[in-house]
């Protein structure tokens, strides 16, 4: 069986979880084994209907009191219990902050190999072959498994979401015997409505060329018009112009949107490490020799303080 950790919070299925279940479904036909989604935590029952849209053969629901608050070890135990009971051979996680936290503990419990943040998955001779960028994207590793159980976490926005409604059996699993060690005692979500950076289809990022925090509203407006999220280079973050949670790159977030718009970013290798797998890259930079142009599908040599407002204007005229 293929098991997919279908992350949800308060009954809402994460986009990355939908992608993971979609990929699980595709793998299920390639490997000719059934695929099941596992939803757990507070509100998990509310996510069951949504997860059915992506074609699982079964849904496991773990909604016991010990898992009401997020816990990496508690969630890992619940997931590993299902995996052992079902004899899972493949376990997929989204590479979200939760997936990345929980998956290694599951791997340790079920003695599985785990490959993180993968961008490609193939099947050869009945086993998985996972690909992922390494060394800041300067090389691509293809990783094979020696263990019977094979685990991966999937980079957001890379594996296509595919609706494929099914009517799976929903199995309720008892997790009341779990006693978590690390527990989320509080969760603080910022104002709603903002698009999450790692999941955004469009990311507009500003770098040192933005010159100061007072100019970030320029790219915030552009991002909003495009339904996207705001990113930043480390130079902008280190200067204190924008919070670290927006940093893209080696020591920030890895994003893979359909369109990445880099404004006043030179394109250092450590920045490319975080956005090099974007489908399309648009760069706006006044230095025609900036390395960002080497990876840009469309490069605009010019002053961002002129180009970005003109672009915003043009987009507003469209609507």
């Amino acid at each position: 069986m293929i098991l997919v950790f279908a992350e949800q919070r308060d009954g809402i299925l994460k986009k990355a979880a939908k992608e993971a279940v979609s990929e699980g479904k595709r793998l299920s036909s390639k490997l000719s084994v059934p695929v099941a989604a596992v939803v757990m935590g507070k509100g998990a029952a509310g996510a069951v209907d949504e997860v059915k849209n992506f074609g699982p053969d079964k849904v496991f629901l773990v909604e016991s009191a010990p898992l009401d608050q997020y816990s990496a070890d508690g969630f890992a135990e619940a997931m590993a219990n299902v995996a052992k009971e079902q004899g899972a051979t493949v376990i997929l996680f989204p590479a979200t902050t939760m997936g990345v936290d929980v998956a290694p503990r599951v791997a340790a419990k079920v003695k599985a190999g785990l490959v993180s943040d993968i961008t490609g998955l193939e099947v050869a001779d009945g086993k998985l072959l996972a690909t992922k960028p390494v060394y800041s994207g300067k090389a691509i590793a293809t990783v094979s498994f020696k263990s019977d159980i094979q685990m991966v976490t999937l980079r957001s926005n890379v594996f296509p979401l595919e609706e494929n409604p099914s009517s799976p059996e929903v199995v309720t699993v008892d997790g009341s015997g779990i006693s978590p060690m690390g527990i989320a005692v509080s969760t603080e979500l910022k104002e709603g409505g903002k698009v999450e950076l790692a999941e955004a289809a469009v990311v507009v990022s500003g770098g040192r060329g933005m010159k100061g925090p007072e100019n970030f509203p320029l790219i915030e407006e552009l991002a909003e018009l495009l339904g996207g999220a705001v990113g930043a280079s480390r130079a902008a973050v280190d200067a204190g112009w924008i919070d670290h949670s927006h940093q893209v790159g080696q020591t920030g977030k890895v994003v893979s949107p359909t369109v990445y718009i880099a404004c006043g970013i030179s394109g250092a290798i450590q920045h490319i490490a975080g956005m090099g797998s974007s489908k399309f890259i648009i760069a706006i930079n006044k230095d025609e020799d900036a390395p960002i142009f080497n990876v840009a599908s469309l490069g605009i040599v010019g002053d961002l303080f002129k180009v970005v407002p003109a672009l915003t204007e043009e987009l507003k005229n469209l609507n």
Binding site: A72, V134, E314
Partner: protein, 261 residues
Amino acid sequence: MNFLVFVKQVPDTETKIQIAGDGKSIVEEGVNFIVSPYDEIAIEEALLRKEALGGEITVVTMGPNRGEAALRTALAMGCDKAVHLEDDAFLGADSYATAKALAAVVKKYSPDLVFFGKQGVGTDNTQVGQMVAEMAGLGHIGMCVKLEIEGDKVRGEREIEGGRETIEVSLPAVVVAQKGLNEPRYPALRGIMQAKRKPIEKLTVADLGLSADEVGLAGSRTEFASLTLPPAREAGKKLEVEPEVAAKEIVAFLKNEAKAL
């Protein structure tokens, strides 16, 4: 309080990567190895905690002989002693086999608090800290950007999609450091001098009570089948035009090529 910090030596992020003849690894010759940047944050956090609470910090690395340089850096920053897991049997380990060895170190030293960096830059797996926590039977705080110790409890904030959450866990525990937790110090000259006299203990597989097939390549669950250079990203159009024209070009691109409008 006793602290254990695990560090990994990685190629400098500026390194030009060349694929070795086996098609699975990189050419190490000429590569400048550094302490993984996240591990520096882990070291700094241990130093700050020791300064506040007292105790002793042991820094640990697993790897070939060159790894000693990483330990010297950590000692120069202020760690008290070092342990080097140096044995041919450790070589070629994936995250699982690495965690197996490091968890044995945790069990051997019974620290109160264990620090890891979020990931070794390069292979970027973000796995070992959590796996060690699991194998050693400890709770952990993942990708921690703020830490508080209160009695026998640690509370850590971590960034999640769209916000933050606070994780609480009892000691002993594992903390996985994320950027933002602190600003690592540079070793001072005096520290560098003192580091030369600080002890580095060498441990083999047998010293950890493990067998050779549990660690290194033999104990790994995954393996690089190949390492290739990425397909060169083709640079597309580069335009130097009036802002209004540029704006129109971008909109046309978003519509027709990216299909994002």
